[in-house]
């Protein structure tokens, strides 16, 4: 057991407004896996799950392989085996994960993200921007979203999302 105390990026209590909640979540182990040229299939065999197509997530048990950009995917869950034909980088501490759930998630994100998320399907993933912040959007069920951005920018992300929630809430209250 480490003697150093681990801290999450924010440590804030969840924020709820207009039936919508923003909460910091722990994604556990995140490993970036970037197959070397021509090695995607070999990598898929070694991992036991297909290297995802752009915008997709593949799954094997509790392990998810989330597309995260050109020739790179994030393995979420297990620690990957050694000797993969890929560059393997632990990214667990590089990101803050925020869960946005509830009634107005799409309206809130429409104020922040330049994508049409109304018809986003569970299991889709987008690399994009949250205003000026880099963003990975993981689409969950019932219009819930997991938002990943750089850990050091967690406070800005939290601030901007809650600001949008406040304005959406004020509109809803005004009718």
């Amino acid at each position: 057991m480490p003697d150093l105390i681990a801290k999450s990026a924010l440590g804030f209590a969840p924020f709820t407004l207009a039936g919508t909640t923003l909460a910091e979540v722990d994604m556990g182990q995140i490993t970036a896996i970037a197959p070397f040229p021509g090695q995607s299939e070999a990598l898929s065999r070694a991992l036991g799950m297909a290297f995802p197509a752009p915008g997709a997530v593949t799954q094997s048990g509790d392990a998810r392989l989330v597309w995260a950009g050109r020739d790179i995917a994030f393995l979420i869950g297990p620690v990957p085996p050694d000797g993969l034909p890929a560059a393997v980088t632990d990214q667990s501490d590089g990101w803050v994960s925020l869960a946005l759930t509830g009634a107005c998630t799409v309206d809130v994100l429409a104020r922040l993200v330049p994508l049409d998320l109304r018809a986003a399907q569970s299991g889709q993933v987008f690399r994009t921007a949250l205003n000026h912040l880099p963003l990975i959007v993981l689409v969950g069920i019932e219009r819930s979203f997991t938002l990943l951005t750089y850990r050091s920018m967690a406070k800005t992300a939290w601030h901007e999302i809650t600001e949008a929630m406040v304005k959406v809430g004020a509109r809803a209250a005004t009718g």
Binding site: P35, P37, G38, Q39, S40, E41, S44, A50, F51, P52, A53, P54, G55, W67, G69, R70, D71, P114, L115, F126, R127, T128, A129, P134, L135
Partner: protein
């Protein structure tokens, strides 16, 4: 303006970083003449019409893209990856 990233689909221009003319892809070989280097780094056709230039999907998949584009109308004719992506086992 929207660019259709081969990996991410149509995206707003603000996700992209513009570099310059696709001339930058034709880097002179080691030992090329100073004139070749001057041409490579500085001189441009700079057409009023169709051109090819380089964009980087910085707030996206990080692919460098070669975009065929009209500089007068801003019409995007084609977008292709500078390097063929390796995703999904494609060569």
């Amino acid at each position: 303006m929207r660019l259709t990233c081969p990996l991410c689909g149509p995206r707003d221009r603000r996700e992209f970083y513009y570099y310059g003319a696709a001339d930058y892809l034709r880097r002179p070989a080691e030992g090329a003449s100073p004139d070749d280097w001057n041409d490579y780094l500085h001189n441009r056709d700079n057409p009023a019409g169709l051109t090819q230039d380089l964009w980087y999907h910085e707030q996206g998949c990080c692919a460098w893209l070669k975009v065929t584009r009209n500089t007068v109308t801003h019409e995007i004719v084609a977008v292709e990856a500078v390097a063929v992506a390796d995703a999904g086992g494609a060569a």
